[in-house]
Amino acid sequence: TFPNLTYRTGPYAVNGIPYADGYADYMALLNSRDGGIGGEKINYIECETQYNTEKGVECYENTKGEGSLVYQPMSTGITYQLIPKATADGIPLLTMGYGRTSAANGKVFSHIFNYPANYWVGASAVINHILSLNNGNIKGKKIALVYHNSAYGKEPIRTLQELEKKHGFKLSLLPVDHPGQEQKSQWLQIRREKPDYVTMWGWGVMNPTAIQEAANIRFPMENFIGVWWSGSEGDVLPAGNGANGYKSLAMHNTGSDFPIYADLKKHVYDKGLAAGDGTSSGQVLYNRGLYAAMLATEAARLAQKMSGKANISPADMRDAMEAFSINEAQMASLGLPNFAPSFSVSCENHGGPGLAAIQQWDAKAKKWTMISDFIKTDAEVINALIAEDSAAYAAENKIKERCG
């Protein structure tokens, strides 16, 4: 059983729909092409949260009884909710690229996994990219962070502040309140202060508005780098040509040039099993849905192998996720060659490899293209922060470290 907490309505539906489509289509593909995983048919459940915490809890409680193997809530708020609960219930949580970053510390967070990347990795990747553009020296450069004024948006601040000390750039912080339709003040401030780079942690309508405003003040788009949640088609399309050159982080490859799309067409779309109306197919967030589903189902496959049963329990799933590894050959065989980096998980490290790439928007072609490899991030800084934050959590909740 794979529950999926989706949000196809409400203020963040824009982002929620393509992701949910991708996730659902991948599950449908496995069922229709392979008859499930290891002969066991996948029971795929969607539950609508509207990005709302209480609804998320309702969904969790509603579905957990049905033998749910892993939860991917796609919302930092709901993730925070579920961290203690899922741990108590013994169900693993996979929060790829969102949620609580310090959950990468498996010693403290036994049931929480946030591979392959997290926000602090993201923050560091942005700085690394800027470093690479400036031959490694960004002393005195000004970098502004435009962020969603919520737990999610505040995640990168600590890391950026650490990196600020290390590299000597100047960071300025510009919060934007939910929902973020009115950002005149922030962008006038950017216009005045002329930062060299702007990075953004946005979500929902905040993204297209920011990109539109950036285009309006003629901020050089190639110096504007969003996190992976600010880099999908829905964010750049409303700004039209103005968005050309905008960059964002990526944790997987873009486009529909993968063999899996042929299979999807044959086994899912053409059979009328597609979750969406087809417009989302090939979009960044759709691919992310595929990727999320792939990581979950591959872990399940591993769990079947490890436990020797076809019908695995959440505990088996958790053990498999902790022993999880994936490499290029595996991904190629799944129809996703060159899609995402290889990595492996361990008891200590639930956070994956700490790699991220940069993609850029081409407004004419209406396409995202990868412009970098998956680059290594500043593990030194990040790990120290993770250790600190998870230690605080452990102390607060009287958790004894594992893996020792």
Partner: protein
Amino acid sequence: MPAEFYYGVEVFLNGLMAGVMYSLVALGFVLIFKASGIFNYAQGIMALFAAMTLVGFQEGQIPFAHLINAVFGTEVHHFGWTMPTFLAILFALGMMLLFAFLVERLILKHLVNQEPIILFMATIGLAYFMEGFGDLMWGSNVKRLDVGIPQGGNFWIEENTAFLGGEEFYGFYLDTLDIYATVIAVVLVISLVLFSQYTKTGRALRAVADDHQAALSVGISLRGIWVIVWAIAGFVALVAGIMWGAKSGVQFSLSLIALKALPVLMLGGFTSIPGAIVGGLIIGVGEKMFEFLIGAPLLGGATENWFAYMLALMFLVFRPQGLFGEKIIERV
């Protein structure tokens, strides 16, 4: 003059512009409140719905495609034509008219002479309904809306003011879209004021807001009045939807601009059309200047939302009916 000063002026000007954008939304509220004493919670959703409809017509979307596909297993999405903007606007207007008619028929007619809070609640129900209905009809994905109004900083103004403030200043930034919005808002307000102040219908509107039953007893047809007013409010919603939709795409969050209109409304007075504009300007300037002078440098930013309300609150303490609202009659 130091550059800081001109930046202050720039923020001020942009505040005015932002205020006008709020006023566009606030106008819809005022109209309905003035005409029936109803605080129309659904105004934001109406703007969203109008914009969605416009895009839907423009792009030849098949209404309820998603539902149809789910029920019949078909794969229909588009009619395959695109409609000229002008025509699409006309169709969208027609839709809002129909909407006004149905609202009267199905809701208001049954709630004559009820207390304001109950009518308010009914509009909340309406808002829920429209939210579901709009999404079902046109889908909840983000849509790009383009009616041909240019956007982005106005070069001409920028270049011709760059000489001010020396090296550090590069001319005033004003969004062309906002300039258009201002012109439209001014035209709207003037015509609405003329309508409500100098026509028989305008007087009837105010009578209805005071006392439904007495209005009925002198032969004012509530139904007619309501249809007219809701249709006009629908039209205003369409305008607001177009302007805001052009800024950040048509999607659910568009309906949340209603929250930005509320402080404008209370500052200007619920019953005053010019109040909506003046209130908008004051709120726009106030919140932007506060953020510029105090919010961002001292309080860590993102103060606009609450400051707008605080500002309105301060005005209300001195004038409980808003700047231009009708005086609240207190007598025994």
